[in-house]
């Protein structure tokens, strides 16, 4: 056993323990670690914003040759968000927000339609080549039935009666099976994160293993 002599490992280990102390209950150590974490992340974000965005994307293109004067328009639009700090001019913020939300919606709609609907539907057709073996046939039919019944579950403008209700019930069964699989898979991933932190405490900090 050789305890680490690095001050940074000690700080990281103590902060880890402070965060884990939340498992018992809220306490001053957790609060201290929480506020350090948030403060550091905020400071880090500011530095990243300054060096990765303000300097290369605003300062340099505007003040060094070749000048990109067209950048003035998005910069002005962005600066209008600062209107929020003024009671007189806080209406200015509506314009950049409207532009931002609508522009991204316009960009997202074709991408989403293509990748989330067209490609998914294309892959779900029951074509003869999907019945090449018994296993493949069962798989294809399960996927098809799962897709149809799940879509019916997310049908909002019709009452769930008779066959429609039964199909929606089958759909929720498929959804829950998928959730169960996703839950188990993700829990495994989270346990590996815990193992990583424990290894840090036991190996890097305490030097036991």
């Amino acid at each position: 056993m050789s305890i680490s002599t690095s001050i940074w490992i000690w700080i990281a280990a103590l902060l880890t323990l402070m965060i884990y102390s939340f498992l018992y209950k809220d306490n001053p150590f957790y609060r201290l670690a929480e506020h350090i974490f948030m403060g550091l992340s905020l400071g880090y974000t500011l530095v990243i914003l300054w060096y990765d965005y303000i300097i290369p994307r605003i300062y340099q293109p505007l003040f060094f040759s070749p000048h990109q004067w067209s950048l003035i328009f998005p910069i002005l639009l962005g600066m209008m968000t600062f209107g929020i700090f003024s009671k007189k001019y806080n209406w200015l913020i509506k314009y950049p927000l409207a532009f931002y939300v609508s522009a991204f919606a316009a960009i997202q709609i074709p991408v989403m339609l293509r990748s989330w609907i067209l490609k998914q539907v294309e892959a779900s057709f029951l074509t003869p080549d999907k019945f090449s073996s018994v296993f493949n046939s069962i798989n294809a039919i399960l996927i098809f039935v799962g897709l149809v019944t799940t879509l019916i579950y997310f049908y909002f403008s019709k009452k769930r009666e008779h066959g429609f209700g039964a199909a929606a019930t089958v759909g929720i069964v498929f959804i829950m099976v998928a959730f169960g699989a996703a839950f188990g898979y993700t829990v495994m991933a989270r346990i590996s994160l815990l193992i990583g932190r424990m290894q840090f405490l036991i190996q890097d900090w305490l030097g036991i293993m």
């Binding site: 974490f37 992340s41 057709f125």
Partner: protein, 404 residues
Amino acid sequence: MCSVYWLCWFFEKNKKTLDKCLFLIIKVNAMLIGILFLIGQIPTDSVFLNPPTNIIAMDAPNDRGEVIIIKWDLPEDISNIEGYQIFREAEEETLHLAGYSPVDRTEYTDQLGIKNNVEYRYRMRSISPEGIVSISSEPSLPATAYPQWFRMDYINVLAMVLLYLGLTVYFVRIARKGKKIFLRRIPGLDALEEAVGRATEMGKPILYVPGIWPMSEIGTIAAMNILKPVAKKVAQYESRIIVPTIDPIVMNVAQQTVKEGFTEAGRIDSYNEDDVFYLTSAQFAYAAGVNGIMIREKPATNLFLGVFFAESLLLAETGNATGAIQIAGTDRVAQLPFFVAACDYCIMGEELYAASAYLSEDPRLVSAIKAQDWGKMGILICLALGSLLSIFGATFIISWFTAR
């Protein structure tokens, strides 16, 4: 003995002559070896490597330019060919190697350093595994890259958007004529009123977490849409809503949304701008901060609506431990199981998008939901018909859905 004696005498007598002869033989041998070596190195079969023929260069369709596609016909004999070297030249570019293609390909996409509206010519030559190259092919006709105004490969997407818009307009007109459009119950949203009322009775605030993604995400837009009716209810009940955000723009939108909700309820005086605030942009620091708020402010109701990732279970577990009633909703399928496990009500996937229409009962929004349902029905019909027709070899429905 006599013979040996005679040989020695002979070598002694003609030593210089013999030395000259020996050096001559060595020189001749060395030359012969050298010539043979060089002959061995000469790629005798190089003359049999033929370059590709019929090189055609063209602008890549449906893009923003800066890409040229090169096509060619394979040489008759490709048995000794490993691949093809592709050379490019332009007015301001000397002929240089621009790419390489494996032997069995007949197409290459050149997108390195291509400028729009510049004429490029291409030549190709075959190369063997030993590095032997053929002569160059004839140059292609000049090709120019340029951007297209319209992407023909997205024509099916455009058709779907137009169809959806047409359906939405149709149902909005029907709704405006006074016909009520039915929407089925969504239990998680029905519980919102109860959750807000409970918080008011307990004299505790409501925590609304709009996810950790910026405004560009549809899930965050949906979260903002739900925030407004929630804020309106909170204002009507004279309760308090806390909205910590991870993004400054989301904070701005959330402030405007909550303000509008309070204004619509006629309680603008109760609106506190400081209750809608920016926390931090780091995922787990944000989770730690929200957990701290849950522990210290002890909200009676936690609403997690928006886009969530690994922090979902951390938030939902802490909220569960504080005894708050929790309603969660996200379109991230991987996170839904955690919300299902740790929250009282869960709004799944598309229910999140339908929530704003459901809560507001606004005919325009409800009409959009109705149009979406028709879209789903259309997809189901296409799936059934396309699958059935594919048995008989008719695949036109499937090919319509194929991403080009």
